[in-house]
Symmetry: C2
Subunit: 276 residues, 2 copies
């Protein structure tokens, strides 16, 4: 057994380490340090600035939950915007919906896309989709431009340090609001309520100051260490906590089902109280 490890530091008092058998790729992009490693536990994993982004074995959880909850609670998600999500996993799940007519995706770091295409072809499987318009650009600036309107927007960012930091602000959410139709819905990956408590609460209150309806749901993603992982929805009209009438699940899933969709919105008391 190899004695190489990747350490991931979560708080000053909490680290995990995963055994790796190989470092397949390393580079410094204009935005961050990027690495691809082979782990014994989770298969291949993409690492940005020292933090595991996706692993082959459990990426389905995050991607199914960030994509299908908004895509299935909106009655007609024809036009979609993905901000971030360079690995392509969210795009892959969005593209499964036959209702999708066009999807704009805005990723700031082209190297993430290239690395994913090369090392995670089963994640980056939809970059050839004809409905896709791919922009290599800053999501913040894109959101200020004249785009859309969109039915669903997905903010699939990395942690709120480095390039992703402005993606958690009220100005940005207001710009997204203006890019959407009168029944639009945005979902934001909003971090661990335990390890990023302030961000989690800020995303909620920032979205509340812009959107008519704000709802939080969680999923348990093994490689996103801490316990629960949160997603926060800002919606102009539609509730997000169930499948919209007339919509149906586009094929077999590995995490998502209709019961999980509803159940994900039930928050433990200690998380619910963080939002009061």
């Amino acid at each position: 057994m190899s004695n190489f490890w990747i350490y991931e530091s979560h708080t000053p008092g909490y680290e995990v380490r995963w055994r790796i058998t190989n470092i397949l790729h390393q580079e410094t992009t204009p935005y961050q340090k990027l690495a691809v490693v082979e782990t014994t536990e989770w298969g291949k994993a993409l690492i940005l600035d020292g933090a595991l982004q996706i692993s082959e074995r459990d990426e389905f959880i995050y991607h199914e939950m960030i994509a299908h909850v908004p895509m299935l609670s909106h009655p007609q998600p024809n036009r979609v915007l993905i901000i971030g999500g360079g690995d392509g996993g969210t795009l892959r799940e969005v593209a499964r919906h036959p209702e999708l007519q066009s999807v704009d995706m805005v990723e700031i770091d082209e190297r993430v896309i290239e690395a994913s295409k090369r090392f995670f072809p089963q994640v980056a499987s939809s970059f050839t989709d004809k409905r896709l318009n791919l922009y290599i650009a800053d999501g913040i600036e894109f959101a200020r431009g004249n785009h859309g309107p969109y039915d669903v927007i997905i903010v699939d960012s990395s942690d709120p340090v480095g390039p992703a930091e402005p993606l958690f602000t009220v100005d940005f959410y207001r710009d997204l609001y203006n890019l959407m139709d009168e029944d639009g819905m945005v979902v934001v990956q909003s971090e661990s309520p335990l390890f990023f408590a302030d961000y989690f609460k800020n995303v909620y209150s920032n979205l509340k100051s812009v959107f008519q309806l704000v709802q939080v749901y969680t999923a348990t993603i093994p490689t996103y260490v801490s316990g629960p992982w949160s997603f926060t929805v800002g919606s102009k009209k539609h509730r997000a906590d169930g499948i919209a009438e007339g919509r149906s699940i586009p094929g077999p899933m590995k995490y998502y089902n209709s019961s999980i969709h509803k159940a994900a919105f039930a928050l433990p008391e200690y998380i619910r109280q963080m939002l009061e």
Copy 2:
């Protein structure tokens, strides 16, 4: 900041480490190695054979969920049996129910109780409850004896290695079945479906071979690393996935609420498929 750490090895490729500021207590009991440490992340923690059992900061999740789900889905949980649970946290939650008339608790290792009383008084707070009969004994042998009948049995064991191993067998579940009334219900902590996949599946099929109705629920417990943590219910008559008519939640909770009770039974596809 101290540079002392406790390492917890979960699989050959996955370890966590938590920073500790002090080792408060260490002993070798007749059954296991016991330690109490002060962590920077989770407060004081009880460690048995190298595995974190409870931390001050998140013990409420496990204890509320193992206790209140069966206690509130049973219409009249008057007589309760707890097997294991030496720290007293499950007892503390069970004792909150005014319907409780008597609770037998069977812990094999008296030293765990003593350590909990000394270092975790807010967890071990119900050992003076007048409804309690405490047995320092082997749960397996106790279950073969002439006890009960019970309405609810809670198997609050440590991991299925060492002293807890026989607590996951069909013979043991059959003995528990015979200790219960015709509407009895048992809940078993059934480990991480990811890290203890075989045990998780065995508990389910073993309970299925004995009980009329078997249901699985999960909770996300930060210090029980891996993602979801599972509990499996074997029931003679009552469903476990909701609060029984006429019952009400005995006071403020930190994790449990009626929505979480129901939602905990919604299983992700990959877990549901493990049980087919």
